[in-house]
């Protein structure tokens, strides 16, 4: 009997501890809403988190009352946490501000309406690069404050090009056909493949079609546009040509990707400007690299600029949202000096147009032979055609990866795209 009593007492103690614990939790949460405290989630300690810390510093000098908690999570974790919390209808434990990748943004905004706080009117949309504003808005309402640009460029090894008899001038504003021709010569001269890609990641296709103002869906963001998408067809053909001519090296993960170009295995890298720090990581290759505009699609309306990746800030509709909006608009939304710091201290290129006039943007980079790559990238960023990414980029891409495999294995292009279109239409409603 004594034991039973003891057990019951222990149980009650535990229960009491639990319940008091949770009430403490709600108290502190309420407290945070009142007592000027906001929480921000982002990924990548060397990039987004650093940017946040700089923003926090800048904001604190004028508004010392607000406490900003910066919490680092992996991107996948943020996506999962948001999905599980928002779908259960609770915002408890969610931050005030969250970073979301542009390709995923609409999926969140449309899957969980009313959970995000609109930012329309709280910042000047025309001060930001247009494609970015489009990516962060739904039905004319702005939900995201644009952050970094994924403006793409073609990073080239000038020494390999020289061996094949080319200079950087020959690669300015070329299209993919010319790029392949140059690639063949470079391979003959140096034995190096032209570029490296992960067969599971069709990022290269996304950059190709966006340079022609196209996407996997039409402008409404929901109509699947695969079978009759001329830009996509051409991109498939170019991809196959790269593979068939053995110009494409395959890697299976990020580390292999880095190892490939840091080890000098490929002559070019075509991707977003966020790769710059990784390219510069191999100090021995200093002066051997240059960046030229992204190739365009030949024979159709297409520019020498495109985008890959990039993310923006979103405010969740939870207590403290006014503070969150204030924090965002006074830092990422209007602070030119802050953007100069992003460039000098992190190498992050924002999409805030007035910032491009700043000194830091014009710095010449010795690693790239004295080229001022930051101002080049922000110039290209303004040319990027705007497209509606819609909600289903990754779902469609997984279908296209299979289509690409079938096409590379020798199936008819129209047939594989038609099948992909059908599959996407049944899968996405």
């Amino acid at each position: 009997m004594k034991k039973l009593l003891a057990l019951i007492m222990v149980c009650m103690l535990l229960l009491a501890a639990c319940s008091s614990g949770s009430s403490n939790g709600t108290e502190s949460e309420k407290g945070s809403a009142d007592a000027n405290e906001i929480t921000v989630w982002a990924w990548d300690p060397n990039f987004n988190i650093k940017a946040l810390e700089l923003a926090k510093e800048a904001y604190a000098s004028e508004n010392p009352d607000l406490k900003v908690n910066i919490i680092e999570n992996a991107q996948d974790d943020i996506v999962q946490k948001l999905n599980t919390s928002l779908s259960s209808g609770t915002t408890k434990g969610l931050p005030n501000i969250v970073l979301i990748e542009d390709y995923r943004a609409k999926s969140f905004l449309q899957a969980y309406p009313d959970m995000f706080h609109p930012l329309t009117g709280s910042f000047e949309t025309k001060d930001f690069v247009q494609y970015k504003v489009e990516a962060t808005s739904v039905d004319g309402e702005n939900y995201g404050l644009p952050f970094d640009t994924g403006a793409t460029g073609l990073y080239v090894r000038t020494d390999y090009l020289a061996e094949a008899g080319y200079t950087v001038e020959d690669l300015q504003n070329i299209d993919w056909k010319e790029y392949i021709e140059i690639g063949k010569k470079v391979k003959e001269a140096t034995g190096k493949r032209l570029l490296t890609y992960d067969p599971n990641d069709l990022g290269i296709l996304r950059t190709m079609i966006q340079s022609a103002g196209k996407w996997y869906v039409k402008e409404d963001g929901t109509t699947i546009d695969l079978a009759n998408n001329e830009a996509l067809k051409l991109s498939f053909k170019i991809y196959k040509e790269l593979v068939d001519n053995d110009l494409m090296n395959f890697h299976s993960d990020w580390n292999e990707f880095l190892a490939t170009f840091n080890g000098g295995e490929v002559a070019t890298v075509t991707t977003g400007n966020w790769i710059t720090p990784s390219i510069k990581a191999e100090a021995s290759q200093s002066g051997k690299w240059a960046v030229v505009p992204h190739p365009s699609l030949p024979g159709m309306e297409s520019v020498n600029a495109s985008n890959l990746g990039g993310a923006s800030w979103y405010v969740l509709d939870v207590p403290g949202k006014e503070n969150a909006v204030d924090f965002l608009t006074k830092t990422f939304g209007s602070n030119v000096d802050l953007y100069q710091k992003f460039v000098t201290e992190i190498g992050a290129i924002g999409t805030y147009i007035p910032a491009a006039e700043g000194e830091a943007y014009k710095t010449k980079d010795e690693f790239f032979g004295g080229q001022s790559i930051v101002s080049d990238f922000s110039k290209w960023a303004e040319e990027i055609p705007q497209v509606n990414y819609g909600m289903h980029t990754y779902a469609i891409e997984d279908i296209l990866v299979v289509a690409m495999q079938n096409y590379l294995a020798g199936q008819d292009l129209d047939k594989v795209l038609k099948e992909a279109q059908q599959q996407a239409e049944t899968q996405i409603k």
Binding site: D76, V79, Q80, N83, L86, S87, G89, S107, F108, Q110, A111, Y112, P113, M115, P199, N200, F250, H251, S252, D253, E256, M391, H392, Y394, A395, D398, I399, V401, V402, M404, Q405, Q423, T426, Q427, K429
Partner: protein, 309 residues
């Protein structure tokens, strides 16, 4: 007659207090079960029922609507799901038998009375099972990379001239996954066989030896029949494990190239977290796994066809 009468009188007297005691005992017994039952009900059966309800709904994120059997119809026309099932069944058909046979052979070898360093070998073979799924998957990914140690070894031994694309070729990626899960789970199954083998009476083997049975005959005529219930058990658990395969594929190939190594569990993950979340359809796919596990288990029971199994 007299005996019966006394028995009755003896029993009748303490019946009242006996009844009380029985009720009390019953109550104590029930109170022990209630907690567990409530917990299981709350944390197992309630979510299962909710998932079943969820599987009849569809929509993006929180905009769920009842769609009746649409999700189940969609399963049969969804090429990605069909590809995932094909892959999973391929793993099942190729990997489970290989693993079971390997585990059997190893356990018989380790059960040899004359073997030295038995403890060491046993530990060495069991060790993979206690490694973290993610950790070993990542290691395998590096081993099988295109310039990984496996390729370098094969090239240095002049077995191949070009590196095998273990992770980016549809066929070899499947092989890699099969090698990985075999490595991880063989030792686990071996332990079951070992413990079963130790329960087999040695006199049976002695008798067989005296009758002139060779090692093969002993293995097929004694060991296998004696281990039959365990073989059934391990093949069912392995089947369930393979149908739920997730960590390895997620970490080694991410389901690629294309969806050449995609498993059903990973498809569920993709539907809920990678794409615009459709939790309703994801729940439907998970119920498809439940149904498949039930069917496979019934088949295995029928094939093994033993009452005491």
């Amino acid at each position: 007659m007299l005996q019966a009468a006394t028995k009755q009188t003896i029993q009748q007297k303490p019946r009242k207090s006996n009844n009380k005691l029985r009720i009390k005992n019953g109550l104590i017994g029930w109170s022990f079960i209630t907690i567990a039952t409530l917990m299981i009900g709350l944390f197992y059966f309630y979510p299962m029922a909710q998932a079943l309800i969820l599987s009849f709904q569809s929509g993006a994120g929180s905009n769920l609507q009842f769609v009746g059997f649409d999700n189940y119809i969609r399963l049969f026309t969804d090429p990605t799901f069909i590809a995932a099932v094909k892959n999973t069944v391929t793993y099942l058909i190729i990997q489970v038998p290989i693993m079971i046979i390997l585990a059997l052979l190893i356990s018989v070898l380790l059960n040899d009375k004359k073997l030295k360093l038995k403890g060491f070998f046993r530990t060495a073979i069991f060790l993979p099972c206690i490694t973290s799924l993610v950790a070993y998957s990542v290691v395998f990914k590096y081993l099988f990379g295109s310039d990984g140690i496996i390729n370098q070894m094969l090239i240095n031994f002049s077995l191949i001239s070009e590196p095998i694309q273990w992770l980016t070729d549809p066929f070899w990626a499947k092989v890699t996954i099969i090698i990985a899960i075999t490595w991880r789970w063989t030792g686990y199954n071996m332990i079951f066989y070992l413990s079963a083998l130790q329960n087999v009476d040695n006199s049976i083997y002695e008798a067989a030896k005296i009758d002139g049975a060779n090692a093969f005959q002993q293995f097929f005529k004694i060991t296998i029949p004696m281990l039959k219930p365990i073989i059934l058990f391990t093949s069912i658990t392995s089947t369930i494990g393979t149908l739920q395969l997730f960590d390895e594929v997620m970490n080694i190939t991410k389901g690629g190239p294309g969806n050449a190594t995609l498993t059903i569990s990973q498809y569920i993950y993709n539907l809920s977290f990678k794409y615009t979340p459709d939790f309703g359809y994801a729940a439907t796919v998970s119920y498809a796994i439940v149904i498949m596990i039930v069917i496979f288990s019934i088949i295995q029971f029928k094939v093994a066809g033993d009452k005491n199994a």
